[in-house]
Each structure stands twice: as C-alpha cells, then as structure tokens.
Symmetry: none
Subunit: 284 residues, 2 copies
C-alpha cells in the first residue's frame, strides 16, 4: 500500500503525496492532480480514459502523472487508493460517542474498538437476514445442533442454554471430536447446525461442517470478517468484526449477534403461541 516514500518525510496518503510533489509537475499533470484532489479519490478509481476526460488532458498524461507519484502502473495506483479507502471505512471517522476517559487509561481503546466492531457488524447485517435465520431456528420440524471452536465454544454453549429452554431438540456438541463426529448419524435435511469458528479456523470443525453439509444439514455460521472456510458450506453466514487492541481477538460482536438471535427466536415462537413458552414464563 502506501509504500511510496519520499526522502525522509512520512507520506501516509496519496493526497499528501500529491500535495508534496505538485510543485514539480508540468502544467497538464498538475491539472490531473487538481482534478483528482477535487473529487478525491473517486475519479482515481475510474478508468484512465474517464480520468483524462475529466481533467481535460490526454491519457498518457494521466499515466505519466501516476508514474511520477512513484507507481509502476495504473492498476497499482488504483489498488493503493482502494486500500486507503478501506482503511478509512473501517475506522469510522464518526467517533461521536464515548468521551475519552480522563485517565487516558487502557480501558477506553478496548471499549471503543468493541463498540465499533458491533456497529460495523450490524451494519452488514440486515434485519431480514436475522429474521430468516431466526425463522429457521424456530422451525421445529428438525433438531438444532451447536458447536464452536477453542475460544468460541462458550458462545455455542450460551446460545444452546437459551434455545434449549424455549424448544426441544437443541443439542450442544461438546467434548472430544470423536464424540460429536458420531452425532452426524442423527443429522438430516431438516436439522440446523450452528457453528462458531473464527481464526485460526479449526480443521476439525471444517471437516465436520463438510460432512454435515453432505448430509443436507443447514449450517448457520458465526465467523469473523475473513470468513472461515466453512462459509463454503453454510446456508447463512454471520461475519462479525473481531479486531481489538489486545493480544486476542474479540468475540463480543458475535456474542451480541447471538443474543439478538436468541431474542428473535423467542419472539417468533411466542408469536406462534407455542405452549412451551407460556409454561416457561410461569417458571420465571
């Protein structure tokens, strides 16, 4: 990405790079630079022809322009712009919330990142998608199995603990691989398998998911934004943000999605008037 360096000066964005070198450019290239800055960075993502037309110069001038910025070719220049955009989008500039803690402590960054992760996660998650998954989980013609990886299995347990109360045939798959591998026999087309898998993805889970998929089991996958290979077999994929300023990844966003789903399933069953729910409420 921003490998383009200039002497000892730190250049972190292409816009700065341009500002730095615009003085040394010939007239036409300067027009190109100004056009790019004017509607930064969108015009740079379009084709050379469009860029040149917008700037009122010829194509080769655009290419000479990007070459002068230090890029080998036009695609490389575009990739750089895209990376910049991606970074910009991931850390929402709109940090309107949480006042920085007085002590400038170690807590705030962690919380900030976690809150951002949740907002980002839900931003990519439509109500409809969640409703679909909830409907599938509330559809009581089949069984529900839940399983997770090394760090995420507690999430599977958490979800199972709730779902098992409001409906029958909910099973958390625990213990040794050999234990739950044998449960495949019980699984069929009408069943749902909820899998939690984030980096580093576990081979055993992938294998298990594949076998289940072959048996026609519908897979709901909770994973991180890089998508576990299980996504290949999954009917529904929930991609949560996991990056936090810590040695560990955060599963908090996935946890919240899980809670949201639990709530949605409960509501759907209530709407269906399942008598089990009414009985349950007596116990609360």
């Amino acid at each position: 990405m921003g490998q383009a360096r200039d002497g000892e000066k730190m250049i972190s964005s292409i816009a700065e790079l341009i500002a730095d070198r615009i003085g040394t450019m010939p007239a036409s290239e300067r027009r190109a630079a100004q056009t790019l800055i004017a509607s930064y960075p969108m015009i740079g993502l379009k084709t050379v022809a469009e860029f040149s037309a917008a700037a009122g110069v010829s194509s080769p001038t655009i290419l000479r322009f990007v070459a002068r910025l230090g890029f080998q070719n036009y695609p490389e220049f575009q990739s750089s712009l895209q990376d910049e955009l991606a970074a910009q989008l991931q850390s929402p500039a709109t940090r309107t919330l949480n006042p920085p803690s007085p002590g400038g402590g170690t807590v705030s960054p962690m919380l900030e990142a976690t809150l951002d992760n949740m907002r980002e996660t839900f931003r990519h998650l439509s109500d409809k998608q969640l409703a679909d998954i909830a409907a599938r989980l509330a559809d009581r013609r089949g069984k529900t199995f839940l399983i997770g990886g090394r760090f995420t299995d507690p999430l599977a347990r958490y979800m199972a603990a709730h779902l098992a109360i409001i409906q029958p045939d909910v099973f958390h798959l625990a213990g040794q691989e050999s234990m739950w591998r044998d449960r495949l026999i019980d699984m069929g087309k009408r069943d749902v398998l909820v899998i939690f898998d984030i980096r580093r993805y576990q081979d055993s889970l992938v294998r298990f998911a594949e076998k289940a998929h072959q048996r026609g089991v519908q897979i709901v996958l909770f994973t991180d934004q890089w998508l576990s290979p299980i996504a290949r077999f999954a009917r529904h994929v929930i991609a949560g943000r996991t990056a936090v300023p810590s040695a560990w990844d955060s599963s908090a966003a996935l946890f919240v999605v899980a809670e949201t789903l639990i709530g949605a399933v409960t509501r759907q069953l209530e709407a269906k008037g399942a008598k089990r729910i009414r009985e349950m409420e007596n116990l609360r």
Copy 2:
C-alpha cells in the same frame, strides 16, 4: 446509481439490495454475496477474477450474481458501488445504515440497548479497579478458579479458555454441584475464584461462594446491577447492565468486561516478561 428498485420497497444501497434478494439466490451466488458483504464494498471494486477468487467461486458466478442484482454488466455494478461510496464520503453524517426493517425494526433497539449497557457498565468501572483485578489474576502465587450460573457459565468458560493459555493453574469448575464443591479443599488464601452470577441468582453458587470465602479465597464477582448476594463475600464486584428489549437478560456487557480483563492480564504478564507468553506467541 440507486435506480434499482424492487417492487414497492425502497432500495437505496446495494447492500440492502443484496440483503433483500440473498434469500432467492443459489448457493454459489450467495457465497459471492456474503463475501461482498463481509468486506463491503471494497472487493466489489476489484476485478471479477479477484472477486471470484476471494469468494471461492468461478468468474461466471460473479457475473450472474451482479446480473441478478439487476445490473447490465460488471462495470455498471462497479460504478454503482463507487457512486455509493462517493455519497457516503461526502456526507459522513448520512451513514446509510441498517434501514429500519419493514416489520418494525427489531434489531436496532436490541443493539442500541446493548451498546448503552456497555457504556453504562464501563462508566461505573474505573481503570484502577480493572487494573487491580487484572493484577490479582496475574499474580501467579495462587490458583484461579472460574464458575458461572446457568446462563453465565459460558462466560466463565470463555475467560478460562484464555487465561489457561497464558498461565498455569487455571481451572474452570464444571459439571454437577457435587463435583466442584469438593474442589473447595484445594482452595486457599492465595487463590482467586471468579464467579458469574446474574438473576435469578443460584443458591448453589451462593453457598459455594460463602464456603470459599470462609477459606480465605478472594472472590471476583461478575453480576448484574442488582448485585447477587455473593457480593457480600466478594473482594471485587463488577456490576454490568443487563436490561434489553428481549425476553432474556443480556450478558453482553459482562462479556466485554471479561474480554477487557483478559487483555489486561495478558498485558501485565507480558510486562512481567513471563516466558510463557513468549512461548505462546510462537504458536500464534
């Protein structure tokens, strides 16, 4: 641009368009859709080949995917994404996020409440308090035990899974009450017992906490804002908000506190230069 309409529903972004139609898509196209959503919208700005590789499908599938979304060809699809990006960049305020769902947005209130809970929880939690607890957990002269209630035991497991890696003598107490009650024999003044207990508070846990307290064990309690009776015996109490618009209480705030603590303990051990940490990092 946003000319893509669907019946009477207003679709203003491609992400919404996808969410709307992802249900009607065949498996491979759904994978394409999910990869795009996972890193929205950057992957869509790259070439068909890169997109298809990232999604693990073939190029034609990508093209069929964009065709299903209503675009004549791939460049038109990309232009649409770019326009969307441009609009988003120009008015950061107008973050076109989760559209309120037709069925009376069921997601947003849940997320909002959860985020509020976290802010509230941390507002009453000083950095010093967390640092103290982390220091206690990082003090390796004693053992660490973790246990939780019916719904919160997964949180204990989650925390144990992490702590057990960075230091020895971390035990999650599972199974029947009789099982862990006997472990009391192993506990002494230098040991720490982390308990998760929210409404409805479990008698068995309260009894257990009391016995441990009598043996001089230091108790760290995760509970809700109404405080479990265990608070009476606890050295450190973390009170998290749990109220959400759902039939269930939310443990998400406590989960985030747990993650924060895990991070803090890890950092403290790193600072101490524990060789175990260095060994661990080789494995990551």
